[in-house]
Subunit: 300 residues, 4 copies
């Protein structure tokens, strides 16, 4: 048995050295952070491994955008799966808007009067929707005939000038899957056109074959889940046609006992064949806005 070596802190220490101390300690949350660092490095360095990254939660409002972009640009992510909400917030920032440092202890009625939308302690001006509307009005003709959600999101990315997740995926040709696209601010914008009698052609299953093919043809695969929801479950489903993921990292604050996928431990996936029996995986029980920057700063 390896002993728990208490963590030593030195003034001015680097994140890598802090995580190295966490590794020597090796238990509880600290041990898991260090294991996630080790696994994220290993899956990037493994030339045979395709990394599937699932991003749920309010991670763009939560300030995680640049980390995701950096990971996309530097080869940490081969397949990107996310929610419509994250893509909407990314688009909003790409159109020049911001999210703001707010508070959860507020009068929501007053916020409503002021036109401010709250995401826990983060604020967004409701006027962003007008700009979104303009954007979709301007580009509707280019977008309306697209049948494939991934291509649709790439097209949007191609229209953007500012650095963003969408633009990066487009530039790097990293597939973005977003099966729940209708459930988002982008969905609302499309609805605006549907309500005017216009039509869009996006098909619900057009790109399913593509993610399954990537999964099927990869020698090995790794999964990284920020939160749960559709992004996690959609990747887990793609893992079922492999030997199971060889590497896995999950960062969540949900808990497993009520049975939902978002809180389920990665170990459960072994029974389904979604995680390989010999896979190296870790569940980090932590707010992703703490854990992801900490892990990535130690990996990079």
């Amino acid at each position: 048995m390896e002993s728990v070596k208490p963590i030593d802190i030195k003034s001015g220490m680097k994140v890598k050295d802090l995580v190295s101390e966490m590794s020597s300690s090796g238990v509880m949350g600290a041990g898991r952070i260090s294991k996630a660092v080790e696994i994220m490095s290993a899956m990037k360095d493994d030339k045979d491994c395709k990394v599937f990254f699932g991003l749920a939660g309010a991670m763009v409002p939560g300030g995680m955008k640049n980390i995701v972009i950096d990971m996309l640009k530097n080869g940490y992510i081969d397949v990107f799966v996310t929610t419509g909400a994250n893509m909407t917030h990314d688009l909003i920032e790409a159109l020049g808007f911001h999210h703001y440092q707010g508070s959860q202890h507020v009068n929501d009625k007053e916020l409503h009067k002021k036109g401010i939308d709250r995401i826990y302690d983060t604020f967004m001006k409701n006027e962003v929707y007008e700009k979104l509307e303009e954007f979709f009005n301007e580009h509707f003709d280019e977008l309306k005939d697209e049948t494939d959600i991934k291509e649709f999101l790439w097209k949007i990315g191609g229209l953007l000038e500012k650095d963003s997740i969408l633009k990066t995926c487009y530039d790097k040709k990293i597939p973005i899957f977003c099966p729940g696209i209708a459930d988002s601010g982008i969905g609302l914008m499309i609805w605006g056109h549907l309500a005017k009698g216009e039509a869009v052609q996006l098909k619900a299953f057009e790109d399913l074959k593509e993610i399954m093919d990537i999964s099927w043809t990869s020698k090995k695969s790794g999964v990284i889940y920020i939160g749960g929801g559709v992004p996690k479950n959609y990747i887990q489903q793609a893992m079922q046609v492999t030997n199971g993921a060889s590497y896995g990292i999950q960062i969540t604050t949900d808990r497993p006992e009520s049975g939902g996928s978002s809180g389920a431990e990665l170990k459960e996936g072994i029974s389904w064949g979604k995680m390989n029996e010999e896979g190296n995986y870790v569940n980090v029980i932590c707010d992703a806005t703490i854990a992801l920057p900490l892990i990535y700063a130690a990996v990079k």
Copy 2:
């Protein structure tokens, strides 16, 4: 100020009487359960109110199927929004299979060898997928040209003989929205056909206008969320074109601090206009397999 009246328990008492005691106590979890009972009754009795029910989590494996069916049959739900996973598990049971009482303290490798899939402490035989495949092979021609996800799910419901959520929604013509349908066992079955070069026509936005129209044209609306994810968010989005929901119940074990929609308090929705400023709402922080039966037994 109303005093907290300690809860009194009587031998053989009815659920309604227990919840009445919880109402007199009025605080913490007990107070919230009683408030949920009051709100669920009120939204059903309000003739002007359309009730939107969002079901996420592993609620069919968790034994909640008959409660959902009963609520659908008895007028507690006007619009049903759920995940592909719940529809898949419902279909599996409708085809004659079961979920089983298992354990979370198991060797997942051994389960995998035995062909058993684990959902926390619930087991499912992997062989269900063969039966699902047969079902979709047999009915593929009837299903493949459908463009609307809601109609597609109704069609499946119409093909079933056993009581199920799908069949009930079909029989009662209660709209089922499932924007993330590709992310599910049903999605995997469709993929099997795509892989053989066949095609399906389901469109990602075909039924968005319908849920928005229902929301837009309702005099008042109420929301019930079991878990979060796409079902909650998709309904919340539909609420943005109303005056905000007049009634709200959310049952979840996720927490708000990391900013995701699944753990967000309903109060936050006021800032967005998703919840009415004068709305009556409650967040029940509880495993839904405890809270939903308790609440519904007191309401019915």
Copy 3:
């Protein structure tokens, strides 16, 4: 394998019947509630078993007082271990004060100005401290020479007229252990006398031998934990000199991953010999103000 039988709800059903449905379902939170009911009945009916009940959290403000009293009066509890805070709140109500139905969405500065103390969504008037002070002034001579915390609390119970946990333990001669007594409103009252140069004789270890003797001499033991903290840990420690508890119920919302005793699963106790290897135990992950009334209404 036993199948998960979906829970059926009948109008006007009894709590016992609801829990019986939860037992047929058998999984997730519902399954655990039904198992807790079965175990609480079994440990009461087992004539060889002494039941140790650990009560932490704000359970008197939370309206659980009468359930605890009822359990004490009806033979469900042989040894009672709690926090100073619960005993203080119990004493406050016994002196004629109340807790009130408040809200967590308040301006705490304004509450402070109004002399209202907040316990999440429950309020208490700060003036209770004056009455507590009077009580301890009046009875200080009777209490100051007591060396044993248990006897001290019994003496207080003997002075009360209103029904209360303290009075019930005194009347029924059920030992109350409260090792953290100094950490409470009662502690503050004693401090008032210490500050005036008076002395009390209570010894920190005087009644430790007694709980250990009860534990040591019991043929079998059962444990019920509402929350964690000192009450749980103190009982767990007493279990170490037995063959381990034969029965165990824990109701908590804390989680295990950060390693603290309050969130630790009962199973962990097997390694320590605190839980018997063949013991029947269950962890109910739930707000105790929901789970305890539900369980006890089905048991009684």
Copy 4:
């Protein structure tokens, strides 16, 4: 409004720079970490402020010992309040034993046979109790007449050669308060002597006056809570005789809704006068083995 500046990660960056990025982001968990860093620095630098540190949870097994020692040695802590369990684990390590990196996915019956005690994913050899027994046999005469828990713990610290929390508090004359001392392995050792008819003189209220005096006479006070339980509550109680703490940091994974002190937000303390209305405070919802090293590495 300040905008959320997305966090940028640089290769080889220092912890201070990572936390500076978190500060520019300013929201959710990352924002709270940066605020905790700012507050911990401020309360140390404020010459008028006495810092009360409450340590609950399994923080010595969890590898946090050296951070606590370092904080004690470098003036970050003026008053130390903890559980008997942490003092026992500290003593165990000071006597030459270790905790080990284990796993939560184990057969606890087999661990029991091997004499290994489990603390979530951390192991301890049960043989440590023999050494503890020897220690208390050897020193019982020096310890048995002590009436003050703080002095008793200092005496133990004075007997130790290895660096430890106990020895550091003794060396630096930093008061250790541990009102629940009877609830711990140390308590079990004392019980061994009580069972042989020997006696100890520790009084439950002997050092209460001392912590209240420190609190009462401090110009300003700050509180740091790792977990909740008695350590938090005992400090909170001491704050009631001040103007309320001017600074506050709480790191916990428990949640507020069930009303217990361990999950209660610091803001609640304002109503009681435990937190100053103008106080600067933050609740960090995080595993302390992640948050404490991260925060302290940025502060130091």
